[in-house]
């Protein structure tokens, strides 16, 4: 071992430990695993949005001799049970996800599986499986679903609604405040459906050992332990017979959080055949058939007094669940209601959330999870209130922002913000806005805007989940092992999805143990070895909860190593210091190597406690409360009046996520989130044909993602208010980039084009939307009135 560089690893922008492997092409994504001898699956999917399967006949497919197995609805139903959901909304129609349903409710719904010796052969065979579906009228979009004469997806829901909940102040009390308020700004908003679009689609390699009844699944998932449990339920297996391994994951963003039906079918095929079966989702499946996200229509009202003080905020949120509720289908809509108030002071606030079924692919989690939608509604309303009432939008915000002396503060919907200085962040963002504002020209209008938002991170105390009857475990578990040679192995239940968690966890442990960073290896993602984690790397919780647990585990391990070293040296423990690779006892002029202490420890020599031998410390951490990050964002945009195209010319954020473990990784998370937010703001949209329900985007030629030319320089400034509830003071930051970005961009567009500001209620702000609004506002190209 080289001379160690001890301590001080928290707060250092070290390169990612996995980067050298990935830049060399030595990644191990699921499709990179040796698949010699594996069979290949193709998923049969519904081509109609709504209908009854009347015939599923694999005879022609099997007669050709290429198919080794064709699974259809009958066989699937016979060998499986439905997949449970975790977070339901009161009145939810569908508590589970059926695998062998004979009613199809969206284009792309899995109805069967073909297995052959190559993907190409399986695709050939899939063509000749005879499937007849009696079509039923399709319901596409919220308006169609809620129309009085709309066709029903479920007979028990005549209006296609699938659940309702209210958060915050009693609706009657809210109405009273709104009725009495001097000013009320009301808008109907819309946030479009989005595809997560990870660069690596989903995929898995499933192996079944018939003799032992052991299922091993390598899957590109965010949630190996949850998928293990779901597979056991769906395939009627004992949990101990299922092992899920997450290899490298090529992005997820909330799109790989649970067991999906097609994935369960691949595992069923492996069991039926006693063989390894592989399925890699292609992009033409991923865009139309993988769960989507967002898709909600909030109607909201903001009440203010004469001085611009907020009196109340009310929202009725209608969310598009799609065909049925998956895992936590209503979750983002519920969080949109819970997070509505953001960092502001509202004497009264509340939201009613109603979920609706449509004949489109189910929606679920996506980075920003309801908080982006809440920020869209709230910040647009605040900008509109400022415009209508003649207030400066920054001053209006500062007038109503919670001050540091008001924290901790509990919102009307029950969120308790822990710590921070929200106005300071906004003031700084506004200062940057003043510096960066640029002049309009005859044909290019420019505007700047700033917004404020909070981010729920470190989700969540298990007792809170129990209170809300959400079937998740909120805690994290970790283990630190000092190996026989003194190297360190860290085990955690969270998983790497590109967010650099292998690096940040290693930094935390190296820092707290006082050993060099390259002595520490982090092992994640295999249910056979990883400590239990239910929610894993979702909800901005990996560094907060696993990192928080490791702060404690590493501290305990350091104490044990000190005690062992002191015993070996015959010194009082408080006189021994760790100096590089050596424990030194200056008073006794004696020293012993860290590696020697580790070797003696594993031999069981000189231990103070007879029952405590192996050099491992396990720590479970259940957060006592949610910890909240916050930020202020600013954008400068240009709108070309001739093309109606919006260009984001500059973007800046002032972010507080407590103690940062690795500022470069933190900045990468924030910038990456901002750019996903720009995608929502400007280009991304999962559109379905309103008549047939067919997805109109099946490739990246139709589903447009931001490219580098769309992305301005993004300035990231950090502030640090350590979390008061997380060991180490960490707060999460996985979602703070995306949450306010669409509202910030729209605010800047509104500043550039005040004549259409009232129309900026829906994303994406594509040229056709801007153009339509400009035409309606009868803007005569504008050039004459606003010379350069």
């Amino acid at each position: 071992m080289s001379a160690p560089d001890t301590g001080g690893f928290i707060g250092r922008a070290v390169p990612r430990v996995h980067a050298p492997r990935l830049v060399r092409g030595q990644g191990r994504f699921v499709d990179d695993i040796d698949d010699t001898g594996a069979l290949h699956a193709v998923v049969l999917r519904s081509r109609v949005a709504h209908g009854r399967i009347t015939r599923f006949d694999p005879a022609a497919a099997l007669a050709g001799g290429e198919a080794l197995l064709v699974l259809g609805p009958d066989e699937i139903e016979r060998f499986t049970d439905p997949i449970p959901t975790a977070w339901r909304i009161p009145g939810q129609l569908t508590g589970t996800v059926a695998l062998g349903d004979r009613t199809v409710r969206y284009v792309g719904q899995p109805i069967g599986l073909v297995v052959a010796r190559s993907r190409a052969l399986a695709e050939d065979v899939a063509e000749v499986v005879a499937v007849d579906i009696d079509p039923l009228p399709a319901v596409v979009g919220l308006t169609a679903a809620l129309a009085p004469d709309a066709p029903r997806l479920y007979p028990e829901a005549p209006d296609n609604t699938g659940g309702r909940i209210h958060f915050g102040d009693d609706p009657a009390a809210l109405e009273a405040v709104l009725a009495a308020a001097p000013h009320v700004v009301e808008r109907e908003f819309e946030v479009q459906r989005i595809n997560h679009s990870p660069m690596e689609p989903r995929g898995l390699l499933a192996e079944w050992i018939p003799a032992t009844g052991q299922l091993t699944v390598h899957s590109s998932t965010q949630s190996p332990h949850a998928v293990r449990q779901e597979l056991a339920t769906a395939l009627r297996l004992r949990v101990d017979r299922v092992r899920v391994v997450t290899p490298d994951v090529g992005g997820s963003f909330g799109g790989k959080v649970t067991l999906y039906v097609d994935e369960a079918l691949v595992c069923l095929a492996a069991m039926r055949l006693g063989r390894r079966v592989k399925w890699i989702e292609d992009r033409a499946e991923n865009l139309p058939s993988s769960p989507q996200c967002r898709g909600q229509r909030p109607r909201a009202r903001l009440a203010l007094d004469e001085d611009g003080r907020f009196l109340g905020l009310a929202a009725e949120i209608t969310g598009d669940l799609g065909a049925f509720a998956i895992q936590a289908g209503s979750g983002p809509f519920q969080v949109a209601g819970l997070a509505l108030e953001g960092p502001y002071r509202f004497p009264r606030a509340g939201a009613t959330v109603t979920t609706v079924h449509t004949n489109t692919v189910p929606t679920g989690a996506y980075r920003g999870y309801g908080m982006q939608e809440a920020a869209w509604v709230r910040e647009r309303l605040i900008d509109e209130a400022a415009r209508e009432l003649g207030h400066d939008p920054v001053r209006l915000r500062l007038h109503n922002l919670l001050g540091p002396d008001e924290l901790p503060y509990t919102t009307r919907t029950g969120l308790t913000y822990d710590s921070g200085d929200y106005p300071a962040a906004l003031r700084r963002a506004a200062e940057l806005a003043r510096e960066r504002a640029r002049a309009s020209t005859a044909t290019v209008r420019r505007g700047v805007a700033v917004t404020a938002s909070v981010e729920i991170t470190g989700f969540a105390p298990s007792a809170l989940l129990e209170l809300f009857r959400i079937d998740w475990a909120g805690w994290e578990s970790t283990r630190v092992r000092v190996n026989q040679d003194g190297t360190v192995t860290v085990f955690a239940g969270v998983i790497p999805v590109g967010q650099g968690i292998e690096t940040t966890l290693a930094q935390i442990v190296a820092d707290r143990l006082g050993v060099p960073l390259d002595w520490v290896a982090v092992e994640l993602g295999d249910t056979a070895t990883a400590p239990y984690s239910d929610l894993t790397s979702q909800a901005s919780r990996s560094v907060t909860l696993a990192g928080g647990a490791l702060v404690r585990a590493a501290a305990r391990m350091r104490e044990r190593m000190h005690a062992l070293a002191a015993a070996h040296l015959g010194a009082p423990p408080d006189e021994v210091v760790l100096d590089g690779a050596q424990f030194r006892w200056p008073a006794g002029n004696a020293a012993t190597a860290w590696s020697e202490v580790a070797a003696r420890g594993w031999r069981g020599w000189g231990r103070p406690d007879p029952d405590r031998i192996r050099l491992e410390e396990s720590v479970d951490f259940d957060p006592p409360a949610i910890t909240y990050s916050y930020s202020a964002h600013g954008a400068a945009v240009a709108v070309d009046l001739e093309t109606a195209e919006v260009t984001v010319e500059d973007y800046w954020t002032v972010n507080d996520s407590g103690v940062l473990v690795n500022p470069a990784i933190a900045e990468g998370q924030i910038v990456g989130g901002v750019v996903q937010g720009l995608g929502i703001a400007l280009v991304e949209e999962a559109v379905h044909d309103p008549a047939t329900g067919r997805p109109l985007a099946t490739g990246f030629t139709d589903y447009i993602l931001p490219v580098c030319a769309d992305v301005p320089p993004v300035t990231v400034e950090h502030r640090c208010t350590p979390s008061t509830v997380i060991p180490g003071g960490f707060k999460g930051l996985g979602e703070g980039g995306v949450i306010p970005a669409p509202a910030t961009v729209a605010g800047a567009v509104a500043a550039a084009l005040p004549q259409i500001a009232h129309r900026l209620t829906a994303t994406p702000l594509k040229p056709e939307r801007i153009w339509a609004a400009l035409s309606e506002a009868k803007e005569p190209a504008g050039a004459e009135e606003h010379p350069a």
């Binding site: 990179d32 010796r117 190559s118 660069m199 992005g251 967010q499 990468g668 996903q676 490739g699 030629t701």
Partner: protein, 163 residues
């Protein structure tokens, strides 16, 4: 009677300086031959439409979307993939720059980006042209491109950088 999946016409090509003879069906894509025929899984496939650039390799020095090229079209060609970039077991300066500047998060798009930038470097493009002419043709969902742009800046200014 079952056909052998990888049966087909024999082709010869060089990949990263190593000569290979392989059998390719008419419909086998170059990306599939590289990944599943030759076991060079560093090249990733993400859209199968030539849009995202993840599968970019160099064929006779030119950048090619290997998901849009048939394996048989590469018969007799000189192919370079991400696995061939390192020199003497050490990462190439461009790979080092991507590592140092956090030019990747999940790393799935990275091999294609590296091959595109390798072409840009050899073609004598400026750093700005590397962004507008090459990076513009690659999708990355994680980084917002900031780290990749920083890596380009660093590499094009650093030692051994393009003239």
């Amino acid at each position: 009677m079952r056909t052998t999946p990888m049966s087909g016409t024999p082709i010869s090509l060089s990949v990263n300086g190593t000569a290979y003879t392989a059998e390719a069906e008419d419909r086998t894509l170059l990306s599939d031959l590289l990944r599943h025929g030759l076991g060079l899984t560093g090249t990733h496939v993400a859209c199968e439409q030539g849009v995202c650039g993840a599968c970019t390799v160099l064929v006779d020095g030119e950048p090619v979307r290997s998901c849009l090229m048939l394996a048989r079209q590469a018969d007799g060609c000189r192919v370079e993939t991400v696995e061939g970039l390192a020199e003497d077991g050490r990462p190439a300066p461009l790979q080092q720059a991507m590592t140092e500047e956090h030019g990747l998060q999940c790393g799935f798009c990275t091999p294609g980006v590296l091959m595109g930038l390798t072409y840009a470097e050899r073609a004598g493009l400026s750093a700005e042209e590397a962004v507008t002419e090459v990076l513009r043709g690659h999708l990355c969902r994680c980084t917002g491109y900031a780290g990749i742009r920083a890596a380009i800046e660093r590499h094009w200014q650093g030692e051994g950088a393009p003239a």
